[in-house]
Amino acid sequence: MDVQIWTYILVGATFALYIGIAIWSRAASTSDFYVAGAHVNPLTNGMATAADWMSAASFLSMAGLISFMGYDGAVYLMGWTGGYVLLALLLAPYLRKFGKFTVPDFIGDRYYSNFARTIAVICAVIVSFTYVAGQMRGVGLVFSKFLEVNIDLGVLIGMAIVFFYAVLGGMKGITYTQVAQYCVLIFAFMVPAFFISFQLTGNPIPQIGFGSTVNDGSGMYLLEKLDQLHTELGFAAYTSGTKSIQDVFFITAALMIGTAGLPHVIVRFFTVPKVKDARISVGYALIFIAILYTTAPAIAVFARTNLIETVNEEPYQKMPDWFSTWEETALLTWVDKDDNGIITYAPGAAIEGAPELLRDAQGEIVRGHYGEAKVTNQPAEGPNELYIDRDIMVLANPEIANLPAWVAALVAAGGLAAALSTAAGLLLVISTSVSHDLIKKQIKTDISDKAELMWARISAAGAVMVAGYFGINPPGFVAEVVAIAFGLAAASFFPAIILGIFYKKMNRQGAIAGMIAGLLFTLAYVVFFKIAFPEYNTPEHWWFGISPEGIGTLGMLVNLAVSLAVGMIFPEPPEEVQEMVESIRYPK
């Protein structure tokens, strides 16, 4: 059977499973809908958190990204795992003791202010929407690459599935589908990794394999060999990277703190019964996440080595079949600058911009002298002849390593599981922000539980529509903005929550001023370099050498400083608020 039939079978089976779970776990009350009745077993919650957390980007793009960044890829590896230590130690147990439904709930009650609550709602909605649009796009991409379905139709199918279980089951439905999705995605990620690690190094465990010797009798370590290949081609050594130390530092910190401030992650720890469950649940979540996150850098090394060895200084006509298949998706392009039929891979761009395939009047792809797919782009300066999209490293990995067809199909099902599970978690945050924090807490406080549940469903449905719209018509800046969601979360929520727990005398004026200052500072820096003046987006223009990806760390410090300074001017919070802070510090 070929990859496409396998993909239909696996994707169909997993979708049927998700729908089955959704029907089984319908929500009956707002407590079910918001926090799954707070009855979730900590191990189950850990697994669901891992699926919630690991998005299409973690699954499809991260290993590829790292394979092009080398050492610098550590910003994602440490940044997206280290935040869980902060969550376990500084946030989850206390917020569980607080025991309400949402992050804006905590902010609003702790700072005894509906204005603070509304700012938190706005932050939560901005962060969640920028993130969810990327997930929907991911669903569409997987469909179009593997099933040759139009991207837009792929987005619509994804919307329908998420709609079904998020609107029907709320947090309860999402939790149990996420458990299934975690199993699918981790299996799909690990199987090719085992195969490739064994092929290259003789050791099937990727975490050990990429520190072992290469399986070719040379006795050379794999990383040593990759460093050598890199140096020969003129790249920086794989294990040393190119970013400045302070930028790596700041980006890692922004991602860690942002992780701990993302509402869809925090809210998962409201779903377990006890404080001590919340603590251990974060530990389980990180184990499940670490399985993927310690494998990804190994896959990056395997894929990079395989790729360089396959293509560099080889004639195009000797390329394996996958080369021309992936050329047709415009993720891989070769331009023969010196017209000798041999592929040269070197640092620098191969072409101007992203490849646009050249097609004839019938819409067929035009192939050149050696059979290569032609593109309309101008060749770029410099010797490099090969354009490789980073996403290809995971998507094409099974084919590059010559693995059976079902493994490639598994990657498609895994990518969909990763995208759908994250999208559902984010949509829930948006819907609860509207139905609970705006309607129940502010607009119509006497609303019945049944009516509130109704509103929760309506807003979930609305959020799915909006997310789908952005998936089909992605604003040009989405890709730029997703990484920024972390900076915004770091600069807005994190300090307000931490001060709320650890500094009893923090008052509402300080917290509000801090959140606004942190948010505006971070937004302004990002908009300036990413949207308004991208031509200035280079290290010599950045403040202290900090890129827009890392600026959230500074934003967090601004938030802290402003909170503390403004807080000093105004009176202490009321007695009952101080008592509440006191009470969340003890499990009983």
């Binding site: 790292i66 440490m78 376990a88 990429f210 990383l223």
Partner: protein, 85 residues
């Protein structure tokens, strides 16, 4: 539970946080980033040490830190009789 006891519980908790977060900072930011170039002059199997901390070792340490914290806090909860049952 008196107010003074609770103060003792909280102080102990903050102490644990201080120690665990120092380790957290050391493995990731110090070994994985600031000292990585120097640590790269040592190797462990096929890994340069700084590279290993940045892409593997820090993640393993994060997991261990959380479980140590869970263990310590569960013990502390029982000691001060604030555990939920």
């Amino acid at each position: 539970m008196t107010k003074r006891d609770l103060k003792g519980y909280w102080r102990k908790n903050l102490q644990y946080l201080g120690i665990l977060l120092t380790i957290w900072f050391t493995v990731s930011y110090v070994c994985g980033i600031l000292l990585a170039p120097w640590l790269n002059t040592f190797t462990m199997g096929g890994f340069k040490l700084g590279f290993w901390f940045a892409q593997q070792g820090s993640i393993y340490t994060f997991v261990i830190l959380i479980f140590v914290y869970v263990y310590l806090m569960n013990k502390l909860d029982r000691q001060f009789k604030v555990q939920e049952d």
